[in-house]
């Protein structure tokens, strides 16, 4: 554990770097994780919920508008 200063000046203990050294040889191909159409649509409803789902609570879905 090393001691670091937070952006607001507070002193905190953090883990050191956890990444593996070197350069990525391949792109981060996350788009292929959903295989079936059902999985894809489900993912869209979740990740792009602002447009394709009612299951979210952002600024535009508050009871009391700003």
């Amino acid at each position: 554990m090393e001691e670091k200063e937070l952006f607001n000046g507070q002193k905190v203990k953090v883990l050191g770097a956890t990444f593996e050294p070197g350069k990525p040889l391949e792109p981060l191909r996350w788009r292929h994780k959903e295989q079936t159409r059902e999985e894809m649509l489900k993912f869209l409803e979740s990740s792009q919920r602002y447009w394709y789902s009612n299951e979210w609570y952002g600024s535009e879905r508050r009871k009391n508008p700003a």
Binding site: E5, L6, F7, N8, F19, K23, P24, P27, L28, R29, W30, R31, K33, E34, R37, M40, L41, F43, L44, S46, S47, Q48, Y50, W51, Y52, W56, Y57, G58, S59, E60, R61, R62, K63, N64, P65, A66
Partner: protein, 647 residues
């Protein structure tokens, strides 16, 4: 010490300018010295829309205060501005149309080589266009999407489909002002009509139509181009690339792809990997075939294949000056007519491929989307066969830098929440808690009237130093990539403490490369997602965000700027401003628009002052949201929660 030091901050560019001078080659940098801009034209005070003129309006002389037709300087400046927007929107939208036409051909199976690479994005766009999904074959869904997308160009009434993706409050503003685009082509045509001699003579009304036209670009043509390209070629994901002229290879056939539409460049990439082509290259004495890009077509193939970037707009001539380029293959937009002249001093072949863009002195090989791979092979073959003609006058600057690109709106969403709950919440939270001060979009071209890359890089460094996360596209992204700002390591080196913490946690650079100029539509979607996620207001104009095009030169940049302003973003341009001849028009764009659109323009050539303008705006928005100072955190018990009215 280079005698060209005042021209660029990029060492590779300076080295090649020296070589160009010793080879007797003139570039845009020297032509900018030779051709002085006309004051009347650069201030928007010159009207050549009819043969009673051209009329150069001098506001200082009463007798010359109006054109022959009676048009005031305000009308003329507004018309010129609107025509710039129309041309920019036309360019982006024609790009979108070409993609839509190829997309339809691919769906019908009439364009071998093209297909559906990203089914998830296909389903996403199907939802946008209201296309039934069910169990239908992918090709059927794609065909219907393609046809509906193409209809958006010729649509006469109603609203463009993508308008409904904007924040609800933004849509309300547009509808109240009557600036929702009805159809993409219709708005461009109407802008041209209204700015014809003797039609619209109310500068405010002209600028409203310019806004509607710009919105038809950003929330229309550009967005269609981006989305359909994603479906055909894959939505960008984080990928490692290299940038600058050092990516050219001395022992390989070098092919530069330059322009904007990825339809051609995608196929060139495949053709260059074809064993038959590689064998041909080896038979000519080359070790292989090296493809690199210039301008936005470079960004497109970088984002999807990791193909290296040779450089940005002002490096197109300099790539040829290396003497190591067998062919520069161009399609449309931002291509200098001087390329064949420069190429005459070397062995480089300039190959035009689009019927829309031919250049005297270039070889034209028509690119046929219906037989794309054989067109591409023909082009690659021409380059390979040119390899033995390479002379001894070769010098490749030893400058190339790593970058990470591929930050589509969907990828940012995924990186912040994974597949379980992809989300912009962490970004919003870190803006609210102050780690990230705000968001900036820094985009646009190069302009030899200012020091190449200097304004881009200085501005972006200043922004990230002040904890502003920067989203980039186009030549601006390349400028910052050459400066080493587009790697995760740049966060600890250049960013402020708060932004660096977030970048380190997520594993992203402080400057995110989102793609080409049509991909500015990705920035619109990211901004909309931040709004909808909640906690930062109800509209894009509420966000602590600002935009800039520090070294702009093209009409496309004006269209982009206008659609960002109309979407509620404070947008600063550097280099020059095209309406300064009219106080009223400039005041409306720089001040009045804040009341009308809740976004406005500014002009500031100094990068530090530009950064200050953007930071001041970001701070103003933070204050309005009540997140300008840290608040005491209160742990709510159940009774306190029950008292809450909000969700």
């Amino acid at each position: 010490m280079s005698s060209h030091e005042s021209r660029s901050v990029d060492p590779a560019t300076l080295e090649m300018l020296e070589k160009a001078a010793s080879d007797g080659v003139k570039t845009a940098f020297e032509r900018a010295d030779d051709v002085r801009p006309c004051n009347f034209g650069s201030e928007g005070r010159c009207c050549r829309n009819c043969s009673m003129g051209p009329c150069r309006i001098s506001s200082k002389k009463e007798a010359e205060a109006r054109g022959v037709c009676g048009a005031t300087v305000d009308t003329i400046a507004a018309r010129n501005f609107a025509r710039m927007v129309a041309a920019g929107a036309a360019a982006h939208s024609d790009h979108g149309r070409a993609v839509a036409e190829t997309f339809i051909a691919a769906a019908k199976g009439e364009a071998p080589g093209y297909g559906i690479k990203d089914v998830q994005k296909l389903l996403q766009v199907a939802l946008d266009f209201g296309v039934e999904i069910g169990d239908r074959p992918v090709e059927d869904i794609a065909l219907e999407i393609g046809e509906k997308a193409l209809e958006q160009f010729g649509q006469q009434e109603g609203e463009l489909v993508y308008v409904k993706k904007a924040p609800l409050n933004r849509q309300k503003i547009w509808r109240e002002l009557g600036v929702v685009p009805r159809g993409i082509d219709r708005e461009v045509v109407e802008s041209m009509h209204r700015t014809h001699m003797g039609v619209d003579q109310d500068y405010e009304n002209i600028l409203l139509q310019a806004t509607r036209t710009a919105l038809a670009d950003g929330w229309g043509g550009s967005m269609i181009a981006t989305d359909l390209q994603d479906i055909m070629f894959g939505t960008p994901v984080p990928i490692l690339g290299r940038v600058n002229l050092g990516v050219l290879k001395e022992d390989q056939v070098n092919i530069i792809i330059h322009g904007h539409e990825p339809l051609l460049s995608e196929m060139i990439v495949y053709a260059a990997q074809d064993p038959e082509m590689v064998a041909l290259a080896q038979s000519k004495g080359a070790k292989g075939i090296n493809v690199a890009g210039i301008c936005c077509t470079a960004n497109e193939i970088l984002m999807r294949h990791g193909v290296p970037l040779a450089g940005n707009f002002l490096q197109q001539e300099l790539a040829i000056v290396t003497g190591a380029v067998e062919a520069m293959v161009v399609d449309v937009q931002c291509i200098m007519q001087s390329l064949p002249d420069v190429a005459q001093c070397y062995h480089t072949k300039i190959i035009t491929t689009s019927p829309k863009a031919k250049i005297p002195g270039a070889t034209h090989i028509q690119f046929d989307e219906h037989d794309a791979l054989s067109s591409a092979k023909q082009i690659v073959k021409a380059a390979v066969e040119n390899f033995p003609n390479r002379g001894a006058n070769v010098k490749i600057p030893k400058y190339e830098v790593d970058l990470v690109a591929g930050f589509s709106h969907e990828t940012i969403d995924y990186l912040l929440g994974g597949t379980f709950r992809a989300s912009y919440r962490p970004l919003n939270d870190n803006i609210i808690n102050g780690r990230i001060r705000g968001i900036a979009g820094v985009v646009g071209c190069n302009n030899p009237r200012v020091k190449h890359d200097e304004i881009h890089t200085t501005l972006v460094k200043e922004l990230i130093k002040n904890d502003v996360i920067v989203l980039q596209t186009g030549c601006s992204a390349m400028a910052c990539a050459k400066e080493g700002l587009l790697t995760p390591e740049a966060a600890s080196k250049f960013a402020g403490g708060g932004l660096a913490e977030v970048c380190e946690t997520v594993g992203i650079p402080p400057v995110l490369h989102m793609g080409s100029c049509v991909d500015n539509s990705r920035i619109l979607m990211a901004a909309t997602a931040v709004v909808k996620e909640g906690g930062l207001g109800d509209d894009i104009s509420d966000l602590p965000a600002a935009g800039a095009a520090p070294e702009w030169m093209s009409e496309k940049a004006v269209s982009i700027g206008q659609y960002f302003v109309a979407s509620g973003v404070f947008t600063v341009f550097g280099a020059t401003w095209p309406t300064t001849g009219s106080e009223k028009v400039t005041d409306l764009l720089f001040k009045g628009y804040e009341d009308i659109f809740k976004g406005k323009w500014a002009f500031e050539p100094d990068p530090y002052k530009m950064a200050k303008l953007m930071l001041d705006h970001i701070d103003k928005k933070r204050k309005a949201l009540g997140i300008d100072k840290a608040r005491e955190r209160v742990l709510y018990d159940m009774a306190m929660r029950r008292e809450l009215d909000a969700v």
